[in-house]
Amino acid sequence: MTSAAVAMPDTNSTEFSEYVAFRTAGQDFCFDIMKVREIRGWTEATVLPHAPSYVLGVINLRGSVVPIVDLAARLGLPTTEPHDRHVIIIAVVNTQIIGLLVEAVSDILGVSEEMVQSTPDVASETTKAFISGVIPKDEKMIRLIDIERILPQNDLES
């Protein structure tokens, strides 16, 4: 049985998926790599008036107007001061395209479903709203982000 599983890992592909891991505000996060369209360096964004503080503005991504969200600020962590070394992860959520400002992309993780633990019951509502699970990895804890909640419009529902 085990040999079969090794020989054909693809048969278990529903349980095995890849996540892009990144670091911001001193914490490690990840989300489904299939939702990532590209990763690019930080470029100055055009400020949107009356926007929430975590929305840094919009950038031009080959003709699309893409809002940039400071992920740390969105999660209630200290805001990120945009720097040239920082990166923007362009994610496609449903039909929407958004950019997430993070400090650095660290890894691509192959994670099977049973490796994902449910988010421990902590006090912060924000944390529980945005983190859908945690994954242990080399003494570290990678936080799995519920990317759909990150969208600025979904503010009220969260």
């Binding site: 003709g63 107007v65 809002p67």
Partner: protein, 728 residues
């Protein structure tokens, strides 16, 4: 899969056909008022219904087929000149048309229809299409046909000469089932014959079984066709080439010795038939009149140029009324993709020009000249591409005539809809999204705008209320006007409702325009409007917000006793606009050029304080409010105007003028509009975004929203962005 495709095509075609039907009916209606109805209109209408019936039959849409058949039968009466399309008949036709639209839509969406609705209209139709049809048919036409065939006249005129000249053919034609099964149609064949000469066709319905036993695919009819022509027999037979073996066909030549008897007979016939002289295929009067000449003509010139005529003219004859342009159906997605790419091209071109400039390329160089040409070309491409999406508002207006009919029916008011500028072209999306608000406005105009008939007569007005729908291009925008000649807005009542609903403070002193605008306030028109027609809880505020979401505005101009005019102004396209590039607190922004009246840089003395922090500027004796754009967007706290800044005088759609403070003006250029909504959402004061030459995004400001936001509104119109959802 492929059946679905065909089905889809059928419904697409139905849209066109229904449009042609509505248009044709409208034309007939207009013409019947003047007396003479163009036969081509009737043919067009008939063809439309017939084609829908035919297509529907292929998809076993029985209800649709049945209804279309009933409709067609009555239309045929009109076509044959046996029914005059007076206003009663046209009323039924219009209702039948509306029903047909419903049935087609129901069939497309695979929704059930209420047979009772069909029955009511079918009953009305059947009033005009009783079974007597056949008898009338025979009584009317048989003598005409016979007068040529019978030997009887010969007896009287035998002395006039024995030399028989062939003047035409008598054709007996009985199609088999398979003829229709192969996609042929007797009507087309008869029409093709009519290209060769003058045709008198008589249908023989004796083979028609009782309705209960009738098979939809069965061929029951046969025709006796008298064709007056000088063509040779094989030309006539060529017409039936494609149905060889699919029908019973005999072609017998008709001979004539002299003209006199026919002439006599013809005169009486022509007398009866004269008023329908416009109808085709029934050109009986012409037949008799032309008959005497025919032998001569055939004698003088033999049938040489005959062959090509039959095929070519058949086409042109059918399409004569519509000046047909070659069109193709293209998936909208492809067009949109093209538009997007062209948008990129324009941005790229701007970037390239900027790069060249920065690299120090002089204006006299070849590169600069090439770039200039590139700029012009890309602009031209863009305009051409945008034109693909542009459509005349005609289809929209046609839908509105139905709304007027229904509304006038429901309210018992006699209403005439007048449309102007139907050819005005607007972006397809705009047209689609305008349907709902416009429907509501039209209903309002009929329901609330126009007075009851008695009231109109009392006031010395025409019994018939008029609603006018106008479209026009003006200064880079499209204006659509809905006007009625009703009583105008009852301002007293409106103000009272406004106060009752807490929309306006009782102590407020409102101008007439402000009172008129109250009807756009959220919560103004709700349940208390007791009318099953427009009081559906959808208020004018929804109309306003859905028009705003298209980048449009709506304004009212009402004159008591004379009526009201609602004007919608819309951007021509949702894709490009002329804009002024300005600097606001370090950000580059775009102000729509259409909104800007002028720019000025006043001295500090021309700016006056008003109240605690507000400033006004005096321009030629007028004091206009000054709005600091940067502060309004929250980019910095409000600062008094300094003479290094520039004021843009901006005119809103409700004709308010105010001044916007910006830090500097950079440029004026065409910008490609990029929606913010898809990836972000709506932002107050921002209409859209665009991409500048350096690749960065600049926001396009919504000058009207800025005005509303920064000036005290007496009507407490709290803008509810989520109300827009209802407009979908």
């Amino acid at each position: 899969m492929s059946t679905n495709d065909i089905r889809e095509t059928f419904f697409l075609e139905c849209e066109d056909l229904l449009e042609a039907l509505e248009e044709g009916l409208q034309d007939i209606n207009d013409q019947s008022a003047d007396g003479a109805v163009d036969s081509e209109c009737i043919n067009a209408v008939f063809r439309a219904v017939h084609s829908i019936k035919g297509g529907a039959g292929a998809f076993k849409l029985d209800e649709l087929v049945h209804f279309a058949h009933t409709f067609e039968t009555v239309l045929d009466e009109v076509r044959n000149g046996k029914l005059l399309p007076d206003s009663d008949v046209m009323g039924v036709f219009f209702r039948a048309n509306d029903r047909l639209v419903d049935l087609v839509n129901a069939a497309r969406d695979e929704e059930p229809v209420d047979p009772a609705d069909n029955a009511a209209i079918e009953a009305e139709l059947n009033k005009y299409a009783p079974a007597e049809e056949e008898e009338v048919d025979a009584g009317d036409y048989t003598p005409m046909g016979l007068s040529f065939d019978f030997e009887l006249p010969d007896l009287d005129d035998l002395d006039l000469g024995p030399a028989k000249t062939q003047i035409g053919y008598e054709i007996h034609f009985r199609p088999f089932d398979q003829l229709y099964g192969n996609g042929n149609d007797a009507a087309h064949l008869i029409r093709a014959l009519s290209e060769l000469g003058v045709v008198t066709a008589e249908v023989d319905t004796s083979g028609l079984p009782a309705f209960e036993t009738m098979r939809a695919t069965g061929a029951c009819l046969s025709w006796k066709i008298t064709l007056m022509t000088d063509e040779s027999e094989h030309v006539v037979l060529d017409v039936f080439d494609f149905v060889d073996g699919l029908c019973e066909l005999t072609v017998d030549p008709i001979y004539e010795e002299a003209d006199t008897p026919v002439d006599d007979d013809g005169d009486t016939g022509a007398g009866e038939e004269l008023e329908m002289a416009d109808f085709p295929e029934d050109d009986a009067p012409e037949a008799t009149a032309a008959a005497p000449d025919l032998p001569m003509a055939s004698a003088v010139e033999p049938a040489d140029a005959a062959e090509p005529r039959s095929a070519a003219k058949q086409e042109s004859g059918q399409a004569a009324a519509k000046t047909t342009k070659a069109t193709i159906r293209v998936d909208l997605e492809r067009v949109d993709r093209l538009i997007n790419v062209v948008g990129e091209l324009v941005i790229n071109q701007a970037m390239l020009s900027q790069c060249a400039k920065e690299a120090g390329v002089g204006s006299g160089t070849e590169i600069a000249a090439g770039l200039d040409e590139f700029k012009q070309l890309s602009r031209e491409i863009q305009e051409s591409v945008m034109a693909i999406r542009a459509q005349p508002v005609k289809s929209l207006f046609q839908r509105m005539s139905r709304i007027v009919r229904e509304a006038s029916h429901a309210t018992g008011k006699t209403v005439k809809l007048i449309t102007q500028g139907e050819a005005t072209e607007v972006d397809k999306t705009v047209i689609e999204r305008l349907a709902d608000p416009l429907t509501h406005m039209i209903r309002n105009a009929v329901d609330h705008g126009l007075e009851k008939t008695e009231k109109r007569l009392e006031n010395g007005k025409d019994k018939v209320g008029h609603v006018t729908l106008t479209a026009a291009h003006r200064s880079g925008r499209v204006f659509i006007e809905v006007s009625d000649d009703g009583a105008g807005i009852n301002r007293e009542r409106v103000l009272q409702i406004g106060i009752e609903k807490g929309i306006v403070d009782p102590s407020a002193d409102l101008s007439d325009t402000e009172i008129d605008n109250l009807i756009f306030a959220p919560g103004f028109s709700t349940a208390s409007e007791i009318s099953d027609l427009s009081g559906r809880g959808v208020g004018m505020d929804v109309v306003k917000s859905s028009i705003q979401s298209l980048g449009g505005r709506v304004t009212i101009n009402s004159t008591p006793g004379k009526g009201s005019v609602f004007t919608i102004s819309l951007p021509l396209t949702l894709a490009v606009m002329e804009g002024m590039v300005v600097q606001v607190a370090g950000q580059t922004m775009i102000v729509p050029l259409t909104a800007i009246v002028e720019t000025l840089r006043p001295e500090r003395e021309e700016i006056h304080m008003l109240g605690t922090g507000d400033e006004v500027v005096s321009v030629r004796g007028m004091f206009l409010p000054v709005v600091d754009l940067a502060a309004s967007f929250g980019y910095r706290s409000a600062q008094p105007y300094t003479s290094s800044q520039v004021l843009l005088l901006v005119n809103t759609d409700d004709d308010h003028t105010y001044a916007l403070t910006v830090d500097a003006i950079h440029d004026q250029r065409q910008v490609v509009i990029k929606g913010l909504k898809e990836n972000y959402g709506d932002l107050t004061g921002i209409a859209a975004a665009t991409i500048l030459g350096d690749g960065r995004i600049a926001l396009i400001i919504d000058t009207d929203a800025i005005y509303e936001q920064n000036t005290a509104q007496p009507t407490l119109m709290t803008y509810q962005p989520n109300a827009m959802g209802a407009s979908q």
